[in-house]
């Protein structure tokens, strides 16, 4: 059992996805329990696999069906993929817990479809993390994306259009990626990442490889929502249902960024077209950071504001990858974690606020702190992490990014990071001001009337409140222990750190 952990990561959600759609006809609570158990099991598998590879001190290669690479499909658990798999599994679990109250009032059929699609998305993303094969990566990319399109369409009338537009752009992106892989295959005759890493270096300057890199970066850049390829993101993020949204925002773009990192740093080497690509990516990311922040300030809709903020924050990750020295990579990888926690938490908060009060627009947040104190406190912590105020996790990822940029002498990037922090502060403090400072007079004029029977009523259903609080506490606590994450996991996720 233990030696099959890598494949279990993918198999469990796939099987339970199908089972859930069927068992929902029998009993909804049973299905929900099954789905949650599956998510928990996946998390345990991920954690076990990560612990195993860290204990071994080398990548754990799993040959699907016993076919050795490069012929068969290889799953690779190393600290990088294992760590990301744990993150994905954790967010899957959190979003599923959160989704419970959100799905109340939907028909069992819809709930079953939701759970099935959600687990499919999870399976796809986990597969993207652990696969060691470029074509397999494409397949998992499509599995996760297709399920995600359908999940987004759950959000109602407008979400359908957003989902369809995302589908068109996303599939085109996948085509780009696949074409790039095709070129690599045509040149080397292999699709296995480890094998390619051996075969490619002498060929780096061939036109086919240049074209391949460009196509792959374009394809994954679209999936990562890297400026200026982010066009699909604001609509899709504005209309999707909150649990889906938090999950997608937290990990989906990150997994694509991870794929980019994996290919640029582990498959190809930083020579020829790749270093130019990285330079271009750096500038795109810098522009995206500023663009996303400015656009976020311009939004009045809270969800859309967070969506544009994602465009900016993904830029941080890509910026770190582009700078590419050890510190910058620490920063980029830590930012994957910190942004996932913070943005996931923020979308949970957005969903919770909307669920409880129906509020979506920033000006309507007036007095929200009085109505939902815990939720808004979690919001503040997550917002601080997004701004990068110590001692939250976001501060430390920014710290490494800035140090990395300093080491690379990239002063422009340092300035971009700082300016972006300030812009981020602008749009989050606007919300904080509304929630905490305005509308106090009304609140005092009419003290909240609490009938005795409802005295212990939580501001949100426990299933929604719990993930919100866990994430915000995680942001604060992991900030203090980020050194442990870096030394024990992220350090080994850098190219060349593991044999």
């Amino acid at each position: 059992m233990n030696e099959h952990l890598p494949i279990l990561l993918i198999i469990i959600p796939l099987i339970v996805a199908m089972a859930a759609r069927l068992s929902v006809r029998l009993s909804v609570p049973f299905t929900r329990g099954l789905v949650l158990a599956a998510a928990l099991a996946v998390l345990a598998c991920g954690a076990g696999a990560l612990a195993e590879t860290l204990a071994r001190g080398e990548p754990w290669s799993y040959h699907v069906s016993g076919w050795p690479p490069p012929w068969g499909i290889e799953l690779v658990i190393d600290p990088l993929s294992g760590g990301l798999a744990v993150l994905v599994a954790f967010f899957g679990l959190a979003a599923l817990v959160y989704a419970g109250p959100y799905l109340q009032g939907r028909t069992p059929r819809e709930q079953g479809s939701f759970y099935a699609l959600f687990l499919l998305t999870m399976a796809g993303l986990l597969g993207m993390c652990v696969t060691g094969d470029l074509f397999n990566l494409f397949v998992f990319l499509e599995i996760s994306s297709l399920a995600a399109y359908a999940l987004i369409a759950f959000g109602g009338r407008r979400a359908i259009v957003a989902a369809l537009r995302y589908l068109i752009i996303g599939t085109a992106a996948a085509c780009f990626y696949l074409l790039g892989v095709g070129y690599l295959y045509a040149v080397t005759g292999s699709l296995n990442m480890a094998d390619l890493a051996v075969l490619l270096p002498p060929l780096m300057d061939s036109p086919a490889v240049i074209l391949a890199v460009v196509l792959i970066v374009a394809g994954l850049g679209i999936k990562t929502a890297l400026f200026p390829l982010h066009g699909w993101l604001p609509d899709a993020y504005s209309y999707a249902p909150a649990p889906v949204l938090a999950f997608l925002a937290a990990v989906m773009t990150k997994v694509s960024a991870y794929a980019l990192y994996r290919i640029l740093y582990f498959v190809t080497e930083a020579a020829g077209p790749v270093s130019v690509t990285l330079e271009v990516l750096g500038w795109m990311a810098a522009a995206g950071i500023l663009f996303g922040s400015v656009m976020a300030i311009a939004q009045r809709d809270f969800w859309r504001m967070l969506a544009y903020s994602s465009v900016a924050q993904v830029g941080y990750i890509i910026l770190g990858l582009a700078v590419g020295n050890v510190l910058a990579l620490y920063g980029a990888l830590l930012h994957i974690v910190s942004h996932s926690l913070a943005k996931g938490g923020l979308f949970f908060v957005a969903g919770g606020v909307n669920w409880e009060t129906g509020v979506r627009r920033v000006p309507d947040f007036v007095g929200m702190a009085g109505k939902m104190p815990l939720t808004m406190a979690a919001f503040v912590v997550a917002a601080f992490s997004m701004i990068g105020l110590p001692p939250t996790l976001g501060f430390f990822s920014k710290w490494y990014l800035v140090l990395g940029c300093l080491e690379a002498g990239a002063w422009v990037f340092v300035a971009v990071l700082i300016v972006s922090s300030l812009l981020t502060a602008v749009y989050f403090f606007r919300v904080i001001e509304n929630a905490y400072l305005k509308g106090k007079d009304d609140a005092r004029a009419a003290p909240p009337f609490r009938p005795a029977g409802r005295r212990f009523r939580l501001e949100l259903p426990a299933g929604m409140l719990l993930p919100i609080l866990v994430l915000s506490i995680g942001v604060a606590v992991l900030g203090l222990f980020n050194e442990q994450i870096i030394s024990n996991v992220i350090h080994y996720a850098l190219p060349g750190m593991l044999p």
């Binding site: 620490y330 501060f395 490494y400 140090l403 001001e433 400072l437 203090l480 050194e483």
Partner: protein, 532 residues
């Protein structure tokens, strides 16, 4: 010179006590007595913990906690030297007094939502202690930012439009400065990875170019200068006067602005060091900037009619004494700068307590309304007069000790011109404080009150449950402030008087400052004038 290190958890405990207190305060928010009891207990406990480090530090040792690796290559590290202890003692000692005062103040002016107020206050003090005791730049920066954030709820406590816009301005200034400081800290860390604060500076051997170091110095000074309210970065301070008075006292005397001044000394004395600053030629520029701040802010204070705002400009001016001393960086100047942190704390907190007591008792906040108040509130105005005298640098009062050393430092630095600045400032101080005292004791209350009623619509509307002197009423019997406000301000005023004669009394502030200044100057003997 490497001081002997004593390992102890005391610094960490001192920081955590008030953080835990903040949590407890939020937890028992519904019960005011319990909430305020927690505040008091935490304040006293914190002071005791800080005080327990005094003997070791006086013995020439450095109290350290085991470093907690918080980021790769740099740790969360508390390391208490003489200078850090000076500030920590000051902050934690004044927290007790301020707590008593703010309980009295907040109970007389019912603003509401005080739980957040006390909690933020505790977090502020935690951050101030962290700043004082941090052993390296990253630790310092973390607490510096926490302080910024924790002060924000205090500034906007009133929740009206004025407070919100004041808070916004506060946030813009301080976040901007925080980010600039962030670059500086990261850069310094990049030049000398993980360096601890070293008396005499650690950047000299970094091998960076002069231009780079000059740029770094500018970044540092912009970063900490905003908190220290050095002109032209002072704009937020008068605006932040919308906060309740204990908060202003905290801002000015204990935590925020003081933390900025502390940071200036830390950066000049312990990051760059006097020698490097001399080589870079940045000290002189900073000194002139400080001199300009001293004079300009004093002039600005002259024309300010709002009492608290006048005090705010006075703070801007006074804290530039510290900056001036740090910029001159001679032993005596450093001593003056460090001791002025203490001296100014006692003087300014007294003044703010007085202003707050006046406001809470009579709802007067403009100087033109203060006529005859000396007869109504004799103790309060007496304390005010004493503190005002001390600020002008009257011999035998606490302000003189630091000014004397600053003057000596200017001579040591070969720049006696700054003595003229000090004297000019003393005259200006007298010019803007004595009219207040004069009015209070010799002003004609009856006429003036009628005058004010007719002409000053912006007089605050009395809150419910507030006893207000009716217009035209002469000295009301028993018009003094409540004891919980009066006693703290008398204590601080007494301290301002006594420390002028015996600067070492009680907490050995002067010795601590001497030790720190001597360490910065490279282990030389204590400067002249030490025996005051």
């Amino acid at each position: 010179m490497t001081a002997e290190a004593v390992f102890s958890v005391a610094p960490l405990v001192a920081v955590l006590i008030s953080l835990a207190a903040a949590g407890l305060i939020l937890f028992c928010g519904g019960r005011p007595d319990l909430r305020e009891g927690v505040t008091m207990v935490a304040a006293v406990a914190k002071f005791a913990v800080v005080l327990s480090m005094l003997p070791a530090v006086l013995g020439g040792a450095v109290v350290e906690t085991a470093p907690l690796d918080i980021a790769r290559g740099i740790a969360l590290h508390f390391r208490v030297d003489a200078f850090g202890l000076l500030f920590a003692l000051l902050a934690s000692g004044l927290w007790i007094i301020t707590s008593v005062y703010s309980i009295g103040y907040m109970r007389s002016l019912k603003y509401g939502h005080e739980t957040g107020y006390y909690a933020s206050f505790a977090v502020c003090l935690s951050a101030a202690a962290g700043i004082a005791m941090s052993g390296n730049l990253l630790t310092f920066f973390i607490f510096y930012e926490i302080l910024t954030i924790a002060t924000y709820p205090l500034v906007v406590h009133r929740r009206n439009a004025e407070a919100v816009s004041g808070g916004r301005e506060y946030m813009v200034y301080l976040l901007l400065a925080g980010q600039v400081l962030f670059i500086a800290v990261a850069w310094a860390h990049y030049l000398v990875p993980g360096a601890a604060f070293t008396p005499g500076g650690f950047l000299a051997g970094a091998g960076a170019s002069v231009l780079a170091l000059q740029a770094l110095f500018v970044l540092f000074m912009v970063g900490v200068g905003v908190k220290a309210a050095v002109i032209p970065l002072h704009g937020w301070l008068p605006t932040a006067m919308v906060a309740p008075t204990p908060v202003s006292a905290l801002l000015h005397a204990v935590a925020v602005v003081k933390a900025g001044a502390f940071a200036v000394v830390r950066v000049t004395g312990f990051v760059f060091g006097p020698e490097l600053m001399g080589e870079l030629g940045v000290g002189v520029v900073l000194a002139w900037l400080a001199a300009a701040t001293i004079i300009f802010a004093s002039l600005r204070a002259l024309s300010e009619d709002h009492l608290k705002r006048r005090l705010a400009y006075s703070t801007v001016s006074q804290l530039s004494y510290v900056v001036l001393g740090a910029a001159l960086a001679t032993p005596a100047a450093m001593l003056g700068a460090m001791f002025h942190i203490v001296a100014h704390a006692f003087m300014k907190i007294t003044l703010f307590f007085c202003a707050g007591a006046i406001y809470a008792t009579t709802h007067k906040e403009y100087i033109r309304e203060l006529d005859g108040l000396g007869r109504r509130m004799p103790y309060t105005m007496g304390a005010f007069a004493a503190a005002a005298l001390a600020i002008t640098g009257m011999p035998l009062l606490v302000g003189f000790v630091s000014k004397w050393n600053l003057g000596l430092g200017a001579v040591q630095a070969g720049q006696p011109v700054f003595i003229a600045v000090l004297i000019g400032s003393a005259l200006l101080n007298a010019a803007y404080f004595f009219p207040i005292v004069y009015r209070a004791y010799f002003g004609r209350a009856g006429e003036e009150a009628a005058h004010a009623a007719g002409e000053a619509p912006e007089v605050a509307i009395p809150a419910a449950g507030e006893q207000v002197a009716a217009a035209g009423e002469t000295v009301a019997p028993g018009g003094e402030a409540k004891p919980s406000m009066l006693v703290p301000l008398l204590i601080t005023a007494a301290a301002a008087l006594v420390l002028g004669v015996l600067p070492n009394l009680g907490l050995q502030f002067y010795t601590l400052a001497q030790m720190a200044a001597a360490a910065v100057a490279g282990g030389g003997p204590g400067p002249a004038g030490g025996g005051m």
